[in-house]
């Protein structure tokens, strides 16, 4: 996520041996805003309570 204008080289061996996963992600699914209301995330925990 985010705007990076340079390439991102990775070590293939490290990626493979450690079973790493790299995901590129743009924005969010259409349902994301509604899910907050449905209680998928806990707003109190977000502020350290």
């Amino acid at each position: 996520m985010g705007s990076m204008t340079v390439d991102l080289p990775v070590s293939y061996m490290q990626l493979m041996i450690n079973s790493l996963e790299i995901i590129g992600n743009f924005m969010y699914p259409a349902s994301a805003v509604t899910r907050v209301r449905a209680g998928s995330i806990n707003r109190k925990h977000a502020i350290g309570r």
Partner: protein, 281 residues
């Protein structure tokens, strides 16, 4: 009927507050009276035309995407949204055509290639105006948030973006998340969202030590700040027990605002953090 709107003739051009005709409601659209528009954290360089990847409408337009507002009018072919409803406006608009690669734009911000430019030409204007005409699918009813001021609720747009990434990255309760760029607009939001989703620990990496301190004060002790100095040997967690960080095995790594230095850090993280799954930028 006219309204006031900020108009930008092109990226890098003149930004002026002007009187413009009120948009006419058309099928599938809704007219929203803007209560609070969320300025992008990068709006200054964007308006000044200093961000090469961004592509604005070819003629003048009203910039800025996300906002909180109230539906003023709904066009034909809009069925479940009605005037008077308070809504959150998302700048992210995807074509509903059932094709292999539906075009998407960020309304009032940018398009992404030829098909996307066609969408942008039909929906050129953003939310720095008294009213904005939008495709119906770009708004979400703000039910349940009646107690929040529009300016406070408008911050949802800062949080929903890292939320989208964390859902995609399958962050689960109790897991450790590393946020690279944690003092930025979206990175700091990612720290709070991750805690709200139940992350057990959030390693917050950023260059600004003061901002990291504020993050820890606000988001709690589950947040482990790491000041990035540009020198890997000097980069240490800011906590009483540095070894705790060294032993941390992160399951998700969120890079929301990576810099050129990321490449060197990434290779080192690969070596240090076992079980890391990174999602990069």
């Amino acid at each position: 009927m006219t309204m006031k709107a900020w108009r930008l003739d092109r990226l890098g051009g003149d930004l002026r507050l002007e009187n413009v005709p009120m948009p006419e409601v058309r099928p599938g659209s809704i007219l929203v009276r803007v209560e609070a528009s969320t300025l992008m954290s990068y709006i200054k360089p964007y308006v000044e035309g200093r961000l090469p990847p961004y592509h604005a409408p070819s003629s003048g337009f009203t910039p800025a995407g996300n906002c909180v507002g109230t539906i003023e009018a709904a066009g034909k072919d809009v069925w479940q949204l009605a005037p008077g409803q308070r809504v959150l406006v998302s700048s992210l608009f995807r074509s509903s055509e059932n094709v292999a690669d539906p075009a998407q734009i960020l309304i009032g911000v940018t398009s992404f290639g030829p098909d996307s430019e066609k969408v942008q030409a039909d929906w050129p204007d953003g939310t720095l105006a008294e009213y904005v005409l939008l495709p119906a699918s770009s708004v979400v009813p703000a039910d349940g948030f009646e107690d929040m001021e529009a300016t406070q609720l408008a911050a949802v747009s800062r949080f929903v973006i890292p939320y989208g990434g964390l859902v995609r990255g399958r962050l689960a309760a109790g897991e450790t998340l590393i946020v690279n760029g944690a003092t930025g607009a979206y990175g700091s939001a990612a720290v709070f969202v991750a805690r709200a989703m139940g992350a057990g620990r959030v390693v917050a990496a950023g260059r600004n030590a003061d901002k990291l301190d504020i993050l820890v004060r606000r988001a709690g002790r589950a947040v482990l700040p790491v000041v990035l100095s540009g020198d890997v040997q000097k980069t240490r967690p800011r906590c009483a027990k540095p070894q705790a960080a060294a032993q941390t095995s992160a399951s998700t790594w969120l890079a929301v605002r990576p810099s050129r230095a990321l490449r060197s850090r990434l290779s080192i993280r690969f070596g240090v953090v076992a079980g890391l799954f990174s999602w990069g930028a």
